[in-house]
Symmetry: C2
Subunit: 346 residues, 2 copies
DNA sequence: CTGTTAGCGCCTTCAG
DNA sequence: CTGAAGGCGCTAACAG
């Protein structure tokens, strides 16, 4: 560890000028001659100067850092969203602090506090499944830190959101199953406290009804949509002799759990039961490579959210009016060799 | 945005004591009476004081933040490693800045610079596929920032590493394919500049030889192991009439690419060609749920790397001697209903 | 265009 | 055990 701590004063002294000029030059201020700038840059380079970001941050009360809170980094949807965020932020000169709430309200509260305390310039987040009151979400806003919600948002006016049209995606996916010949379609749903799952449920329900099928509450299995929840639902479906030939899952993870359970019981996918759900990337290949899924496009949402956030940050203190971007969902059709549902059994 | 900027001086004034005492109390220094502490804590609470982390950081020249550099966040192995890192770091009171090199050397250099400039307390990283000389990796060390490499390390002495025993994992996986009856096993390998891929290759080769099979260079397909690389290799395998009944892939992504190509050509997995590789989590389910893979245990590596790093940070300036942790790989056996390879075809 | 001055908010010697 | 004083390194008025 060399005591390599060259400050602007050192280079000012070496050049017999004032440190404030050095500061300006290093920030490429227009208020310094090009010639002086170049002398300063050269000297800085020569002396191996490195700006002390901490001092700069303190002085400017700005960190050039964005905070991100997601439920769980290792979910493909979130990690791909983060990839998009990081990419966009990096290009705009921002760093990124990533945190996971692990679906816990308590942790979510702490994290927001921490990010505020660390003076991030903005926050991008997806709320946890436990989040039902939104008081703590105001914390950042009160401190003047703009926030953008993506995917999982909350129902308070004045927020920035980047969302998928979950209702439509859900409707289309269910419709797709019906078109394939499914007559009894179960739904693996998430906590209704999240609008997102509410919407996905509504899309499913409406698609049934509009196609002349009855909506049956006993075919709806709400859970936290972990792999084991999907498996449990599948177990119930097989166990209770419920007639089922299709499953529409609100996420891919539960769908995988259900499928693995079914396959272990020698139920053929998709000949006997067709499965679909929201998904993207490699994980969706697990939902049977041949099946159609609703594209959740994490990377795109991440990019859009970051662009929106940066716009909000730069607009301060004018405080741009909040914005909500809703993406059109699209079905990803894989291998066209999909077989028709032929012989629905329980 | 309330001008809510309460400093230690404000609370000192309110209590008619000095700000330095307040500072000590808030840091729970033993050099303040319990009674005074409690008065101060109460007042701080009451006035809604929030420590200014930036000022604190500047003064202490420490940020309580760890930097992480991985090639790509959305790779499941890395996102699960990050989950483990974040978890452990959070418990120890550290924040985490996450960056992706996108396998680019240039970006990797920049990122290290940025992290050093931001005075992170330590760095955890996996080097990019392009990284062949290691000069830039010394940058952090020179600045007294301890670094731990995980999974993809580099061959310079004095580093801290958390690794998998890739040679053994590879050997075991290949052996496993042989035990299943495979006689002609291809290998999808990564850039040999990374020791990791070198070791995985060696394990494969030695397993063949020790079982009395010839090593054939024409069955080795090196690439950057993206999905398309796997598909290309599979195409070559089918195209050139090479006799193959097994594939051992150095990662899961390429294995998925190969499998999807093969399935599209109506080659049955695993009856005609058995595929295995390093993997973990949901992605590995894609490598045919019935097949065995080598567990890469990202979360565990992340945890260990973080613990090691924090140990190094806390040991300063004594500078603990570097450490290398090597994890025993284990094969994940899935569904025992796996079919034997019956009728190997090209 | 450049220099002077005065902090950002906190922590840490050094005295008492 | 507490107070006084100084400075981390940088930037942003305000002058000249």
């Amino acid at each position: 560890m060399q005591n390599n701590t060259i400050t602007i004063h050192d280079i000012a002294a070496a050049l017999k000028i004032d440190s404030s000029t050095v500061s300006r030059a290093l920030n490429n201020s227009p208020r310094v001659t090009q010639k002086t700038k170049e002398r300063i840059w050269a000297k800085a380079e020569e002396m191996g100067y490195q700006r002390n970001v901490l001092a700069s941050n303190l002085r400017k009360s700005k960190t050039n850092t964005l905070g991100i809170i997601v439920p769980r980094i290792s979910r493909y949807f979130f990690s791909s969203a983060i990839a998009g965020i990081e990419e966009t932020a990096f290009e705009a000169g921002y760093n990124v602090i990533i945190c996971q709430s692990l679906e816990k309200l308590e942790r979510e509260k702490n994290l927001i506090q921490t990010l505020v305390a660390n003076r991030v310039d903005g926050i991008i987040m997806s709320i946890s499944m436990e989040t039902m009151d939104y008081d703590h979400l105001e914390g950042a806003k009160k401190n003047g830190i703009p926030t953008v919600f993506f995917d999982r948002h909350c129902d308070i006016p004045g927020n920035n959101n980047v969302l998928l049209d979950d209702y439509k995606g859900s409707f289309d996916a269910t419709q797709h199953l019906i078109a394939q010949g499914c007559k009894n379609i179960a739904h693996l749903g998430g906590p209704k406290s999240l609008l997102l799952y509410q919407n996905r449920f509504n899309g499913y329900k409406d698609a049934l009804v509009q196609n002349g099928y009855p909506f049956r509450q006993e075919l709806v299995f709400d859970s936290r949509l972990m792999e084991k929840d999907g498996a449990e639902a599948a177990q119930k479906i097989l166990g209770t002799n419920t007639e089922i030939d299709g499953i529409f899952s609100a996420n891919d993870v539960a769908a995988i759990g259900a499928m693995q359970y079914l396959k272990g019981r020698n139920v053929k996918i998709p000949e006997e039961i067709a499965v679909t759900g929201f998904s993207n990337g490699p994980t969706s290949a697990v939902i049977e490579p041949s099946l159609t899924t609703v594209d959740q496009s994490g990377e795109k949402m991440g990019k859009l959210a970051t662009e929106l956030l940066i716009k909000q940050i730069n607009s301060k203190p004018k405080t741009l009016s909040p914005e909500t971007i809703i993406l059109e969902p699209s079905l990803i059709e894989r291998e066209s060799t999909r077989k028709k549902i032929t012989n629905p059994t329980k």
